[in-house]
Structures are given as structure tokens and as C-alpha cells.
Subunit: 245 residues, 2 copies
């Protein structure tokens, strides 16, 4: 795939993205250094890396993770096309987490002070960056709720529902009620704080109950209602008036 000009960025076509003025696009384009492709499983940023640039995920999936010294790994969140990579590590400081490609990926590489340039020169865009950062945090919040308080079954159901929604918003082949789903069970386990074995058993249990199906790298929700209910995604209907105990 050849270099994509920002003004022709395929991501801009997605309904999830806002319009940008020609000036803003020009600024973004001036900050973009180059574009690189990496194969699945490649390291994009290592844990503790110091000079990581700012990336944008143009295509493919990736994930952020942290590990303990004995190898236990926790996946913090999954990154889909359009997500930023590397906002967290402030300049010249070690990255507190690693980022790894989940599929083959295409990345836009920005110069390290691009964030600052954006803030200085394009308030609307920098506002979006703040918003996106806050939004990514709320994804982590959701996962923390899962890992801290949901049972294995509930965690899996919750992840399936959430990932389905996210994947659907950017999936062009979103026909047949299925979306691309490149995660292995190991990824799911590491994302939910479960062991691989228990993840497998739980996944199979839900599948046998007819709630979902994963096949050939695609995820099909066969009973989205039950999955959402199991995951308590909406807190049993409405949000607001809910007993705290």
C-alpha cells in the first residue's frame, strides 16, 4: 500500500470521524513523518522504551499491555484503526506500557512534538485528542470493572459485546451479522485477567449455549440480547436510578 495523504485518509470517510478544515488537514499532514507497515505480533513500542514516537493506527489491530517481571501479562486495551498510539508517554520519558501488533498493521508516524504543535496550532484538533484520550480511559475503566467485579462468564460476554460494537463501526465487510475478530483466546485471557484454559472453557460454554460463534477470524453474536444481559452492560435497562446496594 502506498503512502496515504491525510486528506485522502480512508479513516476520514468513516461516520465516526469528524470533519476537519483544509487548514487543519494541512497541519496534520505537515506533522506526519512517514508511514510504516508491521507484521502481526511485531512490537510497536516496548515496555520502558524511551524515544517512542507518536503513531496513529491506519489499519489493522494492536493492543497495549503491561507485564510483571515473571512474565504475567495484562492487556490494557485493544487498538483499532483510528486510535492513537503513544500519547501516554510524555516526552523523553519511558513508556509505561508496551504496544504490539495483533494483525498486520499500517501506522502513520508523527514527529514527537506533534501533540504540542496540535495544541498550539489547532485547538479543535487538540480538543479531539483530549477527548480521545479520555475515551480510551473509559474503555480501560470498563475493563477494570470487568476484571475486578465480573465472573469469568460475565467478563467474556462483556468483551464480546464491546468488541463487536467497536469492530462494527469500522468494519467494511460488516455483512452477515459478523465482524472481523483477530484475537486469539490467549489475547482474550490476557485482556480479562483469566487463564487461557478457563477462557477456553467459558468461551465454549457460551458458544454451546448459542450465544455467539467465532469462526475463521470472525465474530458472530447469535444472541446479543442474552450476552448483554449476562454482561450487565446497561445495568438492567436504564442507567440512572439504580440502587447502590
Amino acid at each position: 500500500m502506498k503512502i496515504v495523504a491525510c486528506r485522502e485518509c480512508p479513516l476520514r470517510a468513516l461516520p465516526a470521524f469528524v470533519d476537519a478544515s483544509p487548514d487543519e488537514l494541512a497541519l496534520i499532514e505537515s506533522l506526519k513523518q512517514r508511514q510504516i507497515g508491521l507484521p502481526a505480533d511485531a512490537a510497536i513500542i516496548d515496555e520502558g522504551q524511551e524515544d517512542a514516537p507518536l503513531y496513529t493506527l491506519l489499519s489493522g489491530w494492536a493492543f497495549r499491555y503491561k507485564t510483571l517481571s515473571d512474565g504475567r501479562r495484562q492487556i490494557l486495551n485493544f487498538l483499532l484503526p483510528g486510535d492513537f498510539i503513544g500519547v501516554q508517554q510524555k516526552m523523553a520519558d519511558a513508556s509505561p506500557h508496551g504496544v504490539q501488533a495483533l494483525t498486520d498493521v499500517l501506522l502513520c508516524v508523527f514527529q514527537r512534538d506533534a501533540l504540542w504543535a496540535l495544541h498550539r496550532g489547532a485547538p479543535r484538533l487538540s480538543f479531539s485528542v483530549t477527548w480521545l484520550t479520555a475515551h480510551e480511559e473509559s474503555l480501560v475503566d470498563d475493563t477494570l470493572l470487568s476484571v475486578g467485579r465480573r465472573s469469568a462468564e460475565e467478563r467474556i460476554a462483556s468483551l464480546l459485546v464491546m468488541m463487536y460494537k467497536r469492530a462494527a463501526t469500522i468494519d467494511e465487510h460488516h455483512g452477515a451479522n459478523g465482524v472481523a475478530f483477530p484475537l486469539t483466546q490467549q489475547h482474550i485471557a490476557d485482556g480479562l485477567g483469566l487463564s487461557l484454559v478457563h477462557t477456553n472453557k467459558t468461551l465454549r460454554k457460551l458458544e454451546r449455549r448459542g450465544l455467539h460463534r467465532i469462526e475463521n477470524g470472525r465474530l458472530y453474536l447469535r444472541d446479543a440480547k442474552s450476552l448483554q444481559q449476562l454482561a450487565d452492560v446497561y445495568g438492567q435497562g436504564d442507567l440512572a436510578p439504580r440502587p447502590l446496594i
Copy 2:
């Protein structure tokens, strides 16, 4: 306590805060609407609340949380003086989490579009907002690693070390090797995805081993080294070259 002018904000004196120009201070001051005090345990933002303003925590502690419909609660992170409250909920949208006072608190209330005004008028400050948001996310990341992959003992040790560090940076009475620590065991349990009972037992075990002491709302680390080692805060020494398996 009477209204504090931003230019005289006690927080600015802390070494953790950067300088702001007179212009920037004036802008902040123009966006600040008022100041309110709330007692311990008061709700600052309810889960699902729609019109929450933007706050800044002037004094006291608070925490962000999420609950499931049956009452299970997960504390997402603790908020200390200087932290923002309410950046996550984008305008006119329901807050994805609740915020509750942990101690008596003083809050600065900003108009809802203050964030936008800051981005538009003070790039240095809006850059700080982005940075702070990213930093808060990295705190949640740490907790997610704990809850997902650390044992109860390790989680508690990790929390004690982290909270000690945070509290120390803003604690004026930080003498005698102890810091103010207003959390109950229930808060610790809800922050670490543990049951109250198991939290108590683990806490006592570490205390009996002489690693820490909590007394009269103050936390004393009696063996910070062992606690850090137990928590694997630094990945056994250095960060960078560490086997991933």
C-alpha cells in the same frame, strides 16, 4: 474556608505544579464559577448523570467508581488534590462513572465549556489537561495490571506503595515517615477487586510481617523495600531488558 483566588491557589505552591503566566491564571479564574464544599461520602457525580460540570479537587480525597446493577462496585482510581473531575463525560452525555467524596472535600466548579475555552485560549494549559488525562489513564492501567494479574498480597503491597507516593507529594504533614490515608478497608477492597474479608486478612498479614502500619488515618511504610519487591513495582530493578516470557 473562603473562596480562593486561582492566583493564590495553595496547590500552585506544590512542587508538582508548573508555573502559569498571569494571562493563563486570569483565564482560569474567569472560567471558575464557584467553589463548594462537600462532606465525606457525598456524591459528587452520580453514575449516569447528564449535566455534570467540570471540577477540580482543591482539597480532600475522592474516588471514581462504577457499579453493576446488583451492587458490585469497582473503584477505578482515587483522586487527590489537584486532580480533575469530570473530563471524561463529553458534553451533554451521561457520565460513565460516579465520583464520590472520600473525605470532606473542597471543589472548584468550572463552567461546562471550560475545557474548550482552555484549548482555544491557552495551548499550554490544554496541553497540561491532555497530559493529566493521559496520566490518570496510566494510573488506571496500573490498577488493571494489579487486578488482572497480581495476587491479593501483591495487589495490597502495590496499592500501599503507590498511594504512599501520591499522598507524600501533596502531604504537608509528611513528617514521621507517615502520610494521611483516609481509605477504609472497604475502599481498598473495591479498588483492588477483592472481598472485604480477604482484604482485611491480607492487610493484617502484611502488617504482622512488619511491612506497614495503618493507624489513625495515617499510613506508615515500615519496609518500603519489601513492599515494592512484593508488588514488583519496578520489575525487579531495571525496566528495559526483561524477558517477556
